[in-house]
Amino acid sequence: MTEGNIPSSFRDPSGFLFVQDGVIYRQVNALYRDHYDHLLKSGLYQNLVDAGLLIAHTEASLNLARSDDVYEIIQPEVVPFISYPYEWCFSQLKAAALATLEIQKRALTFGLSLKDCSAYNIQFVKGKPTLIDTLSFEVYQEGLPWVPYRQFCQHFLAPLALISYEDIRLNQLLRVYIDGIPLDLAASLLPLRSRFKLPLLLHIHLHARSQRHFSDKVVDRDAARGRVSRQSLLGLIDNLESAIRKLQWSPHGTDWADYYQDDSYDSVGLEHKKQLVADFLDKAAPKTVWDLGGNIGLFSRIAANKGMQTVSWDMDPGCVEINYRQVITNGETNLLPLVLDLTNPSPAIGWENQERMSILKRGPADTALALALVHHLAISNNVPLDRVADFLAKLCSWLIIEFVPKSDPKVQKLLSTREDIFPNYTRQGFENEFSRLFIIKRSEQIQNSERTLYLMAGR
């Protein structure tokens, strides 16, 4: 972790995050004093922390202050892995939206209100969406409109509606628009029938028109005072909540069991592979595991069930959706399914390309699983084996990787529609390239298959 101020925390003058001696702290500035005190003294902080809706913190020494205008230094509980909305499946984004509204409702009962609604302020901690920005609250002044209304619609309602009404891939717009999907864009992409739903008509279509109409005007805030009563604000939150709840999306073929069927192994081979993965994990003894191409998390769960903090990446948002629903159903606390295309992984975006971290910046993982993956990278995507090895060496310290030879039916299928331009795609070629960067600790052929599983340690 880089020492100094964290690059994602600079917009809000209430305070900022910084790293000192490998520990993350948050400075609360003097100008935020009243709001911070109210958060703690009103009981809202404890209420939200008890419900798992807000990250807990402890107070730290003021000697750590980074500037003179300090009021408090706090040390937030560590978030095991920072993920971003463009890496979430539909239900994760929906859960984050509902958590945000639940927090706002609770805040209002304690005399506070959220002053921002960024989806980036929500992280999945122990399987639950949790607000990580302790300074997101302000003392509620009845009568004033809710300032983050626009942000909520852009960060949550618009992408959820676009996925629900159009296509799951539209969630990737969040990677382009860091402050949420512009409402005029959402309005133009949504189908006509979305206008017949009152919440979408108002919060997206008319909202977009209103933004355009008033784009060259400013509000007289004094005139606005007293125009949105507490009751009206509660009504607005309630309407947003019911709008979000009604938005649905499920992967095609909603029977989960049918969605993923791996016919690459017979039952003996599959059990052998599971046992080998478990043995190799015990040998590597990682704290953090990334399962690359984790599908619905069959092998990720072997790591997670051993208490390892596991991220299960897959490029198919349907797989991630199914995986996340299992996390919720099973109450799993150390497995985080996320969407990632390894051939075009999450980049660093935002101000100075530093606000949101790339996948590499968030690594390396202690151990990565790359099971039934290499042939997709090498043959489907034309990535030479040496480049595959280079990238995986940056992502992890230990590697559990499966080599699928050309004779395997899955590789034959990939080659059936194209010319074989991969003369080096052999077991020997694979071992040669990976041996440059890793020490091969173990290699085992999986029973009743031609595939080989390797345990490798980074050099």
Binding site: N47, S91, Q211, H213, D220, S232, G235, D238, Q248, I328
Partner: protein, 108 residues
Amino acid sequence: MKLKRFLSEITSFALLAVLASLVLVREAHAYLDPGTGSYILQILIAGLFGALFMLKVFWGRIVGFFSKSSSESEAIVQDPGQDMSDQIPTKEGVESPAPSVQSERDND
């Protein structure tokens, strides 16, 4: 597409007709506030949602009253802390809404 455009014009006209009667805005000369449209829309629709919310709470109480009476007559014990948020159906069962503040505070 014609229908879409027609509806769009109608909604646009309706919105602007209401907005024209407002005295909340003044022309900006140097600063563009990207939140202005959001601010105005919220002020316009908040009253509507406030009224709807009041009706919802009122209706919830009526339903609650009758279901309670019915339950009492059948001598079935119900959780007194149950509130409206518990009655919102969750189709997917994915989200796990936290218990309402009201019911928690009642227990304090």
